[in-house]
């Protein structure tokens, strides 16, 4: 709240990179994101959206993960 450049991962366009600032997901989804390597401080690159636009594929430190936009919406990022 208050920050100007704050956006969520689902808004990022393919080809762009950003840094994760925080997660607003808790419990099962939050833990799943953490276990898959989505944690605050990490740089993340959006590779592509699926043919029907959802889900999206992102690259985290050398490996690729798919997630739905509804889940990416809970990942706060700062664009780089």
């Amino acid at each position: 709240m208050g920050e100007t450049e704050m956006s969520t991962l689902d808004q990022m366009t393919p080809g762009t990179s950003c840094r994760i600032s925080s997660l607003s997901a808790r419990d099962k989804l939050g833990q799943r994101l953490l276990d898959m390597g989505v944690y605050p401080g990490l740089e993340i690159k959006v590779i592509r959206n699926a043919p029907l636009n959802d889900p999206m594929e992102v690259e985290l430190d050398g490996y690729c993960v798919n997630l739905r936009h509804s889940e990416a919406r809970l990942v706060m990022v700062d664009s780089l």
Binding site: K28, R32, L33, L34, D35, R48, L52, D54, D61
Partner: protein, 833 residues
């Protein structure tokens, strides 16, 4: 027995090559079971090393060891409660950094750990040089490098496991420093130490970490071990909250971040990477395979190939395997008591029925073998994840999952699948609710066995619009599956666990022939073991239901009289020939059997091989041979008389069979149901056919065949017989029947598969009950509704199609409640299960 049980558990993240390591260690001695209570595969096997037997259990692949998914719970409980002598942590060496995340959690559980860096060839190709000593030194556990695919490093792994399980004490060097959180752990540990006896069963530091993480199951464990659990857990909650307030980060995020940071440090200290910068091959492939336009085209192509190779080519293969099964049948014919003129010994008819039922299933084995092999290729190569990626949006709209694609393809999205492998393939869907929705709707797809009934009815009642009718029937099922899946999701499955769709997109791998074949063999074997026994049992039950109570004494006497008449007529016709003596009295039956053997041998041999056959049969009985080969004028006379006799016998047998079915328990059930099913346009004959299809759908046409048989010259096809005998039957009747077949309950083999995959008989019964109700509803709608509106069959077809399409689209727009939890910490309100 042996002095000490040696148990090795393999733990690792998905796609790390763990099953290759498992195969490499155990060779052929494996078996699959389910973990009690859940449908997670339990693979176990064993090997001998230095005379010692070692049991190996392949734990499910997991990224982490929380309690949020059944796989993770299973893996964690096994490590905690089964006390393996060694846990081998298998890692994809090329993905070392990320794999350490799981390693740290294993270390925290204080288990005797051996790290196995597998797929070294891939890592080396990517330019990674790993300093094993450094890595082993930091982690404080042995590290073994392998390329299991080529069996490299296998001996060393055996050796390390052996020496390591000899050791009594294991002290691990690395201890993850959680920095600001350490005081919190210490406080929790102190309380646990003084107030509980958890220490004997659980490493306390691990419990403390899990508590700070907010792990669901640890809360339960505390509930069982702490006198004042509620008070203690409330304290833990306030500690979690105060940590978050003081350091501005949720405890579980802090814990994960500490692990990833340490992984970074260890990676930097033990691995050197050279030659970066080029686009990896996987990304090059994905630019096509996941492309907006090309991606779906590739997907359709691959699905087509899957159909083509398994269904089409697999069917061709059954041409070679069927004679084998036919041999079993003829062997059964040979060893069971010979048939009488009209009285077939019960043991004979039962044995043949039984063999036929089992054969019908075994006939699918080549198809399944190819299918399972191809699925293994899709899984191992990494394409499965791409399939889910492309399809998820569409399927998710209906409560299904990206990974429902493959099961649906196998079940027969367009035409000609099989629900059994379809349901079995649902195993991989991580989201329980979507998995159940997929399992429950797959039987509505177009399995191969439904096709004969469609073809039969379309040929009679939609002969002028065959193309339309086929298109309708091939595509209507998906328009029923999607909305039904959505409705199930919103109703009976509402309470099922869901899982977030966060999936790794693994790098492509070349599948190994051994891995693929091994998996195909293993799954076919599993299928045979579990399914065949059930089908056999059901065959017995159905036989009884169709056979008994049988014919009354006066009907028996009636047929007996007909038999005498026929034989008398035969003997009268040949009394003036030289065959009169040879074909008299008790020689009649052996002659009929000879006649039939000759006819079927001629049929089987086809043209050309006739000469062999003739000598063979001439040797068997020269006199009979003169008759069957019409030798001389007397031979011709005898032949014609015999032909008539054989036909009369056939007709009598068919009439008796028909009457027996009419009179059977199943026949009575069919009649009993008629007042209800008449609204759907089904008469009792149709009911009997549908009931008999419960075991296997192809039975429906076979039973109809028996019921509509008048035993005429056999020149009329079933289409003609049914068309002429059911004068009141209209295309509307046929349409109602076809749609009922679309929604028909799963066959018994599928029902068993449903039970295996859902882990409960209750869901199996549900999977059989709801389609029956739905099918009847739709059939009534078509028949009664269509009749009331005065629609023709074709009009009703289009009307229903439009209705289904509209309904599907509408259901796609129904929003599911958002499942994502953004709840603020504070677990005092924890819901106990």
């Amino acid at each position: 027995m042996s002095e000490k049980r040696r148990l090795v558990a393999l733990a690792g993240q998905p796609n790390c090559g763990k099953s290759t390591v498992f195969n490499g260690l155990t060779g052929a001695s494996q078996h699959v079971a389910n973990y009690p209570g859940v449908t997670v595969d339990k693979m176990s096997g064993s090997y001998r090393f230095k005379g010692q037997k070692v049991e190996v259990v392949d734990l499910p692949g997991t990224y982490s060891l929380t309690s949020y998914s059944p796989e993770e719970r299973v893996a964690r409980d096994f490590i905690l409660h089964e006390h393996p002598s060694v846990v081998v942590n298998v890692m994809d060496a090329s993905n070392l950094k990320r794999s350490l995340y799981l390693t740290f959690q294993l270390l925290e559980m204080n288990v005797p750990l051996v790290v196995n860096l597998n797929m070294m060839d891939v890592a080396e190709e990517a330019g990674m040089r790993i300093n094993v000593d450094a890595l082993s030194g930091i982690l404080g556990v042995p590290v073994v490098l392998t390329t299991m695919k080529k069996k490299q490093g296998r001996e060393e792994l055996f050796e390390t496991i052996d020496t390591f399980s000899e050791q009594e004490k294991h002290d691990t060097a690395v201890r993850l420093d959680y920095k600001e959180m350490e005081p919190f752990f210490r406080e929790i540990q102190d309380i646990l130490e003084t107030e509980t006896s958890l220490e004997t069963d659980y490493p306390l530091r691990w419990v403390a970490i899990k508590l700070m993480e907010g792990d669901e199951e640890i809360y339960d464990i505390i509930g069982r071990h702490h006198a004042d659990a509620a008070g203690f857990l409330a304290d833990v909650d306030s500690m979690r909250q105060s940590f978050e307030e003081r350091f501005g980060v949720a405890p579980e995020i802090h814990i994960a971040r500490c692990r990833y940071r340490l992984a970074d440090e260890i990676f930097a200290a033990s691995v050197a990477v050279e030659g970066q910068g080029k686009v990896p091959l996987t990304e090059k492939i994905d630019r096509i395979v996941c492309h907006k336009i090309l991606g779906p085209i590739v997907l359709v192509g691959i699905i087509w190939l899957l159909y083509y190779l398994s269904i089409v080519q697999g069917y061709n293969l059954t041409n070679y395997t069927w004679p084998l099964l036919a041999k079993i049948r003829s062997l059964t014919e040979a060893i069971t008591p010979a048939p009488g003129f009209i009285d077939i010994p019960l043991i004979r008819s039962f044995s043949l029925w039984f063999v036929d039922s089992v054969n019908a299933l075994l006939n699918y084995v080549p198809i399944f073998f190819i299918l399972f092999g191809l699925i293994a290729v899709l899984e191992d190569s990494g394409y499965m994840a791409r399939m889910a990626f492309i399809m998820d949006r569409l399927l998710n709209q209906f409560g299904l999952h990206g990974q429902s694609t493959l099961p649906m393809v196998l079940g027969g999205v367009y035409v000609g699948g099989c629900a059994v492998p379809g349901v079995m393939a649902c195993k991989g869907i991580p989201d329980e609710r979507s998995r159940f929705a997929t399992i429950l709707t797959i039987p509505m797809l177009n399995c191969l066995a439904k096709v004969p009934l469609y073809v039969l009815l379309i040929n009679i009642y939609f002969a002028e619009h065959k193309g339309w009718a086929m298109l309708f029937i091939s595509t209507i099922s998906i328009l029923l599956v999607l909305p039904v899946a959505k409705i199930l999701t919103l109703t009976v499955l509402k309470g099922k666990e869901t899982a977030p769709f966060v999936m790794e997109m693994p790098a492509y791998h070349m599948p190994t022939i051994r891995g693929v074949l091994g998996r195909a063999v293993e799954r076919v074997w599993l299928f045979l073991k579990k399914i065949t026994t059930i089908v056999a049992a059901v065959a017995v039950i159905l036989f009884v239901l169709l056979q008994f109570p049988g014919l009354g004494p006066e009907r028996e006497a009636h047929y007996e009289a007909q038999k005498t008449t026929a034989i008398d007529a035969f003997q009268k016709a040949i009394e003036n020939t030289s065959f009169a003596g040879a074909l008299s009295g008790d020689q009649v039956m052996p002659f009929i059997i000879y006649w039939e053997d000759f006819a079927s041998a001629k049929m089987a041999a086809g043209r050309g091989k006739g000469d062999d056959l003739k000598t063979q049969f001439e040797q068997r009985n020269p006199i009979f041979f003169q008759v069957v080969s019409r030798q001389g004028a007397e031979g011709k006379t005898a032949f014609n008389a015999a032909k008539k006799l054989v036909q009369t016998r056939k007709m009598l047998l068919m009439e008796m069979r028909k009457e027996r079915i009419d009179n059977s328990f199943l026949g009575r059930a069919g009649k009993f149901m008629e007042p209800m099913t008449q609204w759907a346009g089904f008469n009792w004959r149709v009911n009997v056919a549908l009931l008999s299809a419960l075991a296997a759908k192809e039975s429906s046409v076979a039973t109809l065949g028996a019921l509509y048989d008048q035993g005429e010259e056999g020149a009329q096809t079933l289409e003609e017989r049914m068309g002429s005998q059911e004068a009141g039957f209209t295309p509307l009747h046929a349409l109602a029947l076809m749609l009922f077949m679309v929604l028909y309950p799963p066959c018994l083999a599928t029902a068993i598969a449903v039970k295996l995959q859902t882990g409960s008989a209750k869901w199996m019964l549900f999977s059989m009950g709801y389609p029956m109700a739905l099918g009847l509803g739709v059939a009534v709608l078509i028949f009664t509704g269509g009749s009331a509106l005065g629609l023709s069959g074709l009009q009703a077809m289009f009307a229903f199609y439009g209705l289904a399409l509209t309904f599907t689209v509408a259901m796609g727009f129904v929003r599911d409640r958002e499942q994502v939890s953004t709840r603020f910490p504070g677990k005092a309100c924890w819901e106990k299960k």
